[in-house]
Subunit: 301 residues, 2 copies
Amino acid sequence: MTADLIQDQFKSLQDYICQYLEKVDGSAKFEEDLWQREAGGGGRTRIIRKGNVIEKGGVNFSAVEGPVTDLMKKQLQMEGDTFFASGVSIVLHPNSPKVPIIHMNVRYFELNTGEYWFGGGIDLTPHYIVPANARKFHLHLKSICDAFSHDAYADYKKWADDYFYIPHREETRGIGGIFFDHLKASEGIAKEQILDFCLALGKAFPSIYEEQVNLGKHLLFSEQEKQWQLLRRGRYVEFNLVNDRGTKFGLVSGGRTESILMSLPASANWEYDFKPSANSPEAFTLAHLKKGINWLSEELQ
Amino acid sequence: MTADLIQDQFKSLQDYICQYLEKVDGSAKFEEDLWQREAGGGGRTRIIRKGNVIEKGGVNFSAVEGPVTDLMKKQLQMEGDTFFASGVSIVLHPNSPKVPIIHMNVRYFELNTGEYWFGGGIDLTPHYIVPANARKFHLHLKSICDAFSHDAYADYKKWADDYFYIPHREETRGIGGIFFDHLKASEGIAKEQILDFCLALGKAFPSIYEEQVNLGKHLLFSEQEKQWQLLRRGRYVEFNLVNDRGTKFGLVSGGRTESILMSLPASANWEYDFKPSANSPEAFTLAHLKKGINWLSEELQ
């Protein structure tokens, strides 16, 4: 299985997801920017904005290659002279505070030494946590993981809890999901199976989000709920700029800034020391931005 | 000169600046939060919001002490078992896009080895660059620097250009100002003189800002200019969360998050790949967010 084949599959995945999301939105269409990277390769950035459902989002494909820089050696702790990397990366910010923010990423990395790995993940950031909806989301992820390997959901769910965490706030970014990195063939698992797992995740992504959209998009919301959404977006910005290793690596390694920072919302607010009132839905959400919650449990309802 | 004395001077400086800024604003009053740090020391966070002039800002004093952690050793590259650090740190975000954002900081650091240093700086971030106003700002800084040492303005102006820079945007944060760090007594310069320089900078700060406020606050602005302000605030957020070493150190070393992140604006926007139209005031501003501009020159007018 060559890098070219993987790249083509990721490209088709981007096409599939964009078409599906345009139907989910019902109004906005993706705009496309093709870009090339000086040191080798390039990408296809697709942005959707001012839609019925999605206020701002991106579905990016890239396939870059070139010499391994000192910075990459330091960050990746791997040997090799040249690398190839391809992936699809998605963030969607909805208009409504009753619809969650979502992120998905699948990626493949290869060195000229022959070493390679896959990574990826999907996580959901509701502005208002609704346990029944969170359960639906995690059930889908579990089902995709179970088809791949017995321990995958438990392992990757924990990995997501640890990765999508904002230490300076002592909060998770949202209700998590799954995250995995450095997956390579091992006893009992072939390279093709890992690719298929990534593709299954990507294929399932738009319908998983469609479900979340349909659960929230018809709900009315108040100005106060809109303000809360803007504060939660502020936290999303903090995570992406302070804590997200992918964003940081992209920015310092000379990636295309506008493609990387498509993950930021159209607008975000910060209010000094804001504390939601006791027993409010906002306080309920804050109390559930914690690691280790079993979202599959029906007892949370 | 003891650490206690320096701390008292910084505290008085905070009082002086807050009183002055309340007059400049003409409406809002500072709210105060006292906080203590588990490992030793604490601070006095003062926040101003929803004023006539200032939409959101903070004037923070802190004096913290305790064991030197491994993280600090790594970041500061200094030996010592215990440290003391005190400072005043300010960011003000105005309502009007015609009034600049401003930042000021003075700080003192001491180790139980006897080693110590001062640092600080002041920089201005106009949403719209007006060279005549930038010149006034830099003339004040030059005059304070000249009273301290012959090369200070040239050295610290360059330092600010390099420090207040956003590499992933290839932009400076604003029109710079001065920045200095690790200042200690040397031949011809006593510790008291460095403290006096820091205090002179702090004392001058509110009147320097008052001048900038008065140059802009009566100007009308359009909705389009307000939108540009929100995009420029987005860049301010990027600098503070991605590039500012002070913010990063504060967050990872367990500082008080709400005090550190008072530097973020009430609201900020991101728009994918926004480019101002040719020959617009926005394009003029972007073209001048560069290192190495001599703002003292009258030829920029």
